[in-house]
């Protein structure tokens, strides 16, 4: 039986229990995979502002809430800045919260992102990645998420809709872990995932409830009205009366980020046992174990890279893919360990740290710098503003780097693939 959805979403194929009671397989977009995960995670307050290509995430949540399928409130705020600001205080009041945004919406929240992280709030947000202007582009690249990497938020990049669903649920678990207490951004490519339909297995509510206990945080002021506090007052440079000052609190945030890698892997393991799906933790390899050349990418760059491996191997280049799933904190040791046996590394960035180079490439170099046998590494800028990043680009780029590696060439200027002829 196929039921008509209220939005443009398509088929709900019922009667496919996938062998486990209460589960359901649905054909849904990445955006809706996120929505279903938010519903399953029993989020209590959603506050969001529409922006292409994120809007369906929130539209679906509005349906759930208004149909009574979610016991939650939606604040239809007048801007993204207000979205994050309202979630900061809602979370502090004592409820599980969520938002989603893209591109300029994310940028408009920038101030609040820093505030949320500094307050150590377990907020979860989906970033449906999209290019940043000027000029306008509604299409995907990773610039928006990457540009916020210094705010203190965790960032996890997904490659398919199942991973989006699973990761959103895991994100709450990681964020609310006492060793972490950090906000988490689950990032996925606009249009490529957000608007593409794939089969997604939804867990039963009982299973999710087992994995994700009721909301608990270090700040839940509605539950302590008789022990009132002021949150986020002015601090002075130096410690007073034995209490930490600004620098110590920031140090503790950085430490939490460093600890969070292990917590993420632990949560992943628990989720894996429950669902039968383990997405690999901070990084995962594809045909990497016996590879000589590693291709590194996040999100759609990683999925695209995998399509080129067969052809590369056929042409004599023993390539494999390292998917960086956890971008923040940057898992330096995991990256270094995963790449210790390769001689050459090719990085594809769907973003630019302008004035430097692709952020993933730069940070991979940071991880590799002190490796006992650092490989040759070079990166490419690809697929900005929705420009196609193709299998051919992967092959072409990898072959270029293999050639450069022979002569250990130094290239400080960035290399871009897929530009128009004559550029």
């Amino acid at each position: 039986m196929v039921s008509k959805g209220k939005s443009k979403e398509v088929a709900k194929v019922e009667g496919k229990p996938a062998g486990i009671k209460g589960r359901e397989i649905m054909l849904i977009t990445g955006n809706h995979a996120a929505s279903y995960a938010v519903k399953a995670s029993r989020v209590q307050v959603v506050s969001a502002y529409p922006i292409t290509p994120q809007s369906p995430v929130v539209e679906k949540l509005s349906e759930f809430i208004e149909d009574g399928e979610m016991d939650a409130r939606m604040i239809r705020v007048e801007s993204e800045q207000s979205a994050m600001a309202s979630l900061i205080s809602a979370s502090t009041t004592g409820v599980r919260v969520f938002t989603a945004t893209s591109s300029h919406g994310l940028l408009f929240m920038h101030e609040q992102l820093a505030w949320a992280a500094g307050t150590r709030l377990p907020i979860v947000m989906c970033i449906v990645t999209r290019a940043i202007g000027a000029p306008w582009s509604v299409w995907t690249d990773h610039q928006d998420a990457v540009s916020q990497r210094d705010t203190g938020w965790m960032q996890i990049f997904c490659e398919d809709n199942q991973e989006i669903y699973d990761t959103v649920i895991e994100a709450f678990k990681i964020a609310e872990d006492e060793r972490v207490y950090l906000p988490v951004a689950v990032c996925f490519d606009g249009y490529i995932l957000s608007h593409t339909i794939m089969p997604v297995e939804l867990l039963s509510q009982a299973e999710v409830d087992k994995f994700l206990p009721p909301f608990k945080s270090h700040l839940m002021i509605s539950k302590s009205m008789d022990d009132p506090i002021g949150l986020n007052p002015v601090t002075v440079p130096d410690p007073r009366e034995g209490f930490p000052a600004y620098m110590e609190l920031r140090h503790r945030m950085q430490q939490a980020l460093e600890r969070s890698i292990a917590v993420m892997e632990e949560a992943e393991g628990q989720f894996g046992k429950l669902s039968g799906r383990n997405h690999g933790g901070a990084v995962r390899g594809y045909r990497l174990d016996d590879a000589d050349v590693a291709i590194v990418g996040m999100g759609s760059c990683s999925s695209q890279a995998k399509t080129a491996i067969e052809a590369l191997r056929a042409s004599g280049i023993k390539a494999g893919v390292l998917t960086v799933r956890l971008f923040r904190p940057f898992p330096k040791q995991r990256v270094r360990d995963a790449l210790k046996h390769v001689s050459t590394v090719v990085v594809f960035d769907r973003d630019v740290a302008y004035g430097l180079e692709g952020a993933l490439c730069a940070e991979t170099k940071v991880a590799l710098y002190n490796a006992p046998k650092p490989p040759y590494i070079h990166g490419f800028i690809v697929g900005l503003g929705g420009r196609d990043f193709t299998t051919d680009h992967v092959i072409q780029g990898t072959k270029m780097v293999v050639a450069m590696a022979k002569n250990k060439e130094i290239h400080d200027e960035t290399t871009w693939l897929g530009l128009m002829e004559g550029e």
Binding site: G118, T119, H218, I229, G230, L231, N232, P233
Partner: protein, 94 residues
């Protein structure tokens, strides 16, 4: 276990209510209010319910008692003296 009162485990800037947050603000003042009980209407008339000095003090550093008393943290702004209908308060150099 995160405890905002414990310097070691606290992770966010949480402030707890206390008197004298700004230290002894009484040291800010140059002039101190002095209440002349002979002029204070609360003392002259047992039925009077004035308490204007208590009312207008920005920080309740005048007590709502008969007679009113000036508290230690008084910053010496002089509003109580200015507003007292019966001119029972004068600001005197300390």
């Amino acid at each position: 276990m995160v405890n905002s009162r414990d310097p070691k485990s606290t992770i966010a800037a949480v402030q707890h209510p206390t008197e004298g947050e700004a230290g002894n603000t009484g040291t800010w003042r140059t002039f101190k209010p002095v209440i002349d009980e002979r002029k204070c209407i609360l003392m002259k008339s047992p039925k009077a319910r004035c308490h204007k000095c208590w009312l207008y003090c920005p920080e309740a550093m005048v007590t709502r008692t008969r007679p009113p008393k000036i508290l230690e943290y008084c910053k010496g702004c002089g509003i109580c003296a200015a507003e007292c209908t019966h001119k029972a308060i004068t600001m005197e150099k300390e």
